[in-house]
Amino acid sequence: MRFTKRLLTTAVIASAVAAPAMAEGTLDKIKESGVIVLGHRDASIPFSYLADGQTPVGYSHDLQLKVVEAVKKQLKMPNLQVRYNLVTSQTRIPLVQNGTVDLECGSTTNNLERQKQVAFSVGIFEIGTRLLTSKTSGVKDFPDLKGKNVVTTAGTTSERLLKAMNAEKQMGMNIISAKDHGESFLMLESGRAVAFMMDDALLYGELAKAKNPAAWVVTGKPQSFEIYGCMLRKDDPAFKKVVDDAIKATYKSGEINKIYSKWFTSPVPPKGLNLNFPMSDELKELVAKPTDKSAEQM
Amino acid sequence: MIRFNNVHKWFKDLHVLKGVNLEVTQGEVVVVCGPSGSGKSTLIRTVNQLETINEGEIWVDGVNVTDPKTNLNALRAEVGFVFQHFNLYPHLSVLENITLSPIKVKGMDKVAAEKQAINLLEKVGLAHKKDAFPSQLSGGQQQRVAIARGLAMEPRVMLFDEPTSALDPEMIGEVLKVMKDLAESGMTMMVVTHEMGFAREVADRVVFVDHGEIIEQAHPESFFTNPQHDRAKQFLRQLLTPMN
């Protein structure tokens, strides 16, 4: 243990020396280069994903484009170029930090750990963590999961909550941590788990993709709420203000409702699936009173 | 002891043994010689069926070895074979090289096998090398170990395929000496070799093979001094010419 600590200390010193500070603000950088770099995901349906394999689309992406419009106006650069940069859950934070990506809008939860690394815009979405199960499973809420196999996606808040719940309430669940949401659903569909715990929006997304969507249902009292936000570099108040203002304006004008229904209650590309996920009270609240705080800070 | 009845062997289209008839009696020492590629190795390897034959029969000690029902492993355990390139097991010590088959094939107990191995090593003059590995021995020493390995199975017959031709000249003598002692102890031996000194001194009979046929068989003295066949004469001339 002592050895590990000493090794780690050495690494800290090395990295502190190696890390140069970002001198200028994002707006200056965009102005100089004439380019804004947008971070996006490949499969966070319907938030940010590649429908045709090339350009991103989605709910978060539409809000991201609102910000681009505002930046153009602010910098008086109508011909500002947009460059896209695909990020994954592992790369999104470092790529924002090291200046590769200027703004990431996808399905990134705003939380305290991440606030140490990056800044978040006002919230763009709010999810509750719930359960997807078959209509015949008899599972209505979390207490029904006692002694059952439950799947969740590795590395998510749901996984942590589920494990904590299992330990605290001695529920005797077997918790399967699948690689991604698609695989979690496969575990559910193939009978290895009776329920799949995840962000409700994502559960609706998986349900829409199922062979027989009518066989499945999203249920259970949300165990936590999470607010998604766009990520930008820390300590850049000028850029953050442009981002926040653009999103708030979209909320205020009511345009958000159009964007919401486009992605959550209408067919979405590429397959024309409809998530049928009505806007939750929590999201309505967030739209009414935008905040850049994480759910745990509320 | 060994009898070849009209033995034929083909490698694909190549007719290597063309109707060989030969008999080696109990206690006899027969030397086989002939030009390179004439089929000597093939002939001697058919005795313990390291090479199969296509026609004819071979009998060893009253057993038809070419009968598919014959238990070849049992037969081979009774027939010692010494190779041109020794073929010792490089991963085993000298002692283990000798004791391996008595223990595994005959089920001999380890202590007895080692005692016997040391006896044999004494006979070939290598008891002090029992813990060495093959790579640590000279060629002549390796071949003497190989002979001891063959003898450890207490064979009824010993076969030698050019046992000295891979050796440096100064080591040939020590191997031939061991073979001579063996012959004098009454072992039945079939030896492919061009060592005429050995043939003269030890062999009861010399068999001359050419193009897969036995061309001449005779007592060594008469074969070397008065060969009958032209090809045998030519062969002997070449053998006697230095730098052949």
Binding site: N98, E113, N149, N174 | -
Partner: protein, 247 residues
Amino acid sequence: MNYNWDWNVFFKSTGIGSEIYLDWFISGLGWTIAVALVAWIVALIIGSILGVMRTLPNKAAASFAAGYVELFRNVPLLVQLFVWYFLVPDYLPEQTQIWFKQELAPTTSAYISVVVCLALFTAARVCEQVRTGIQALPKGQSAAALAVGFNQAQMYRHVLLPQAFRIIIPPLTSEFLNIFKNSSVASLIGLMELLAQTKQTAEFTANMFEAFTLATIIYFVLNMSLMGLMSWVERKVRVPGMMGGAK
């Protein structure tokens, strides 16, 4: 880059019971070793049998082994894992299926699948090494073994394989290291081995560089120990004058 380094992160609570993040790494390492070692032992046994089969005069045995190698070497490992975990259980008898999918703890069924998958995949690679090793031996070795009356099994057991294995220790060492690397596929079916725990820690703490640095150090130390182990084995079985076998 304005990254916030925090090496104390490993000693922070995960929020689950009294666990700290370091515990995740330890348990991940445990699973990595448990998967790789068991799969390796099975792969060595099956691979050796197949390698021997490839060198047998029996045509049917040789072509069975050759077909096996083609199949298992050419289908991507991930595909094989999905076959073993999702597809094969669906063809089991009803009772066994329920047992495997529902009664068995999910980690256990994932563990079985990944060990089977890695073992069979690696067996194909071991097979080729063993075959090469046997074929590199001088022809005289098998002749010498047969001439003293060994049957085929004894010949392989006492003469050919001990030599072949000595020759192929270096390539086997690299297969041994590979199986540890490949064991990270386990995370795809929910078995939280080292890489999965690393990603998970990175995800939860947002301290991804610390997490991946620690993982790199652990993998490095693991690799060095495995190499040390194999060179110890090599020294143990070394025979004078038999480096690289054939002379």
